[in-house]
């Protein structure tokens, strides 16, 4: 059903929702969680390579953000502030995951269940990308995702990661080179 003319859906801004949370409105925080769930979830899933770990990191980040909301100096940039918490949380979680040596096998069933060649190709490509991404060193993977997938400027990446611009550029460059290498190897297997 089409929306009547002259009626626009108006959503509360981040700043307004943060203000309401600070006065005790937990429902407003639910709205912020809903707003950023998928956006931040994508980073966590790619960074950690495991959906369960990603959701755990995401939930923990939302809770940490709520408990330290008074430290969010610019409520209009709540999303960027929350991003920083998630990036740090993924580093911790990523270290734990590395110790467990968990490998990426998520799409194997989907591959076997694919009915069309084109669909199978897409699933296979997705698996190859995930495996290549998982082989990157965490700091390379982090830099690559922030720069190319989340489309952040280097200045913002500096704020999120604590690394310098030149170091980040080097990490992105190495990540690109290694992804190319890994995926070419996969092509010839």
């Amino acid at each position: 059903m089409s929306q009547p003319l002259g009626i626009n859906r108006v959503e509360a801004s981040d700043a307004e929702l943060v203000r309401r949370v600070r006065t005790g409105d937990i429902g407003a925080y639910g709205a912020l969680v809903a707003r950023y769930r998928d956006r931040l979830g994508r980073y966590a899933v790619h960074m950690l390579g495991d959906r369960e770990d990603a959701e755990e990191a995401l939930q923990d980040s939302f809770v940490r953000a709520y408990r330290s909301l008074e430290r969010c100096d610019d409520p209009a940039r709540f999303g960027a502030w929350l991003y920083g918490i998630l990036v740090n949380r993924c580093r911790t979680s990523g270290a734990r995951a590395a110790r467990r040596r968990r490998m990426f096998v998520r799409d194997v069933d989907a591959l076997h269940g694919a009915t069309h060649a084109d669909q199978a190709d897409r699933v296979e490509w997705s698996d190859e990308v995930n495996r290549a991404l998982a082989r990157l060193a965490p700091e390379y993977r982090e830099a690559f995702l922030l720069k190319h997938v989340e489309d952040l400027e280097y200045e913002e990446m500096v704020r999120l990661t604590g690394a310098g611009v030149s170091a980040l550029k080097m990490r992105v460059k190495r990540a690109r080179e290694q992804l190319q290498k890994f995926l070419k190897e996969a092509e010839h297997v």
């Binding site: 959503e11 509360a12 929702l17 309401r20 600070r22 006065t23 005790g24 409105d25 937990i26 429902g27 407003a28 925080y29 639910g30 709205a31 969680v33 809903a34 707003r35 769930r37 998928d38 979830g41 994508r42 899933v45 790619h46 990603a54 959701e55 995401l58 939930q59 939302f62 809770v63 709520y66 408990r67 330290s68 909301l69 008074e70 490509w125 997705s126 990308v129 290549a132 991404l133 995702l145 190319h148 997938v149 690109r176 992804l179 190319q180 995926l183 070419k184 092509e187």
Partner: protein, 169 residues
Amino acid sequence: MFDRDDDIVERVVRQLRQPVSIDPALDARVLKQIADGPARPVAAPRSRFQWRRWPWLAAAAVLGAILVARPWTAGNDTAASSAFQFVLVAPQASTVALVGDFNDWDPARSPMQTAQGVWATTVPLAPGRYRYAFLVNGVEWRADPGAPRARDDEFGTPSSVITVGGNGS
């Protein structure tokens, strides 16, 4: 398959930029953990009242309700009241009101405010036992699935029970 190295990276980026859908039930889990956990300072308590302690939680579910209590003292009154925030996650609802013994079951007195499907309102409650329900879209009575159901509801509609102790819990 690949003509240039950059093509590989571009394809990787396109693949990784595909939207990722996270289980919406995560929202309720976050809110429950928040309400279960330690206090976060509240910036602007209402006048007349002073915050003393932080919330406890009754229950949470994806389409259920979350009940948060924030005890306070009421000015110079000797009897302590407690502020209870009721939260209902109901993305499809167009209006939700909290009704109960504490507001004479009048939907106009406790309309709930929404932010992306999460409805909330706060009411002060003195110690006692109260029946309550959510009135969705003005017609649908919904009990709080995370709270005890009222067994003595003479009106035949679903309702829940909250008991406020003398210490505001």
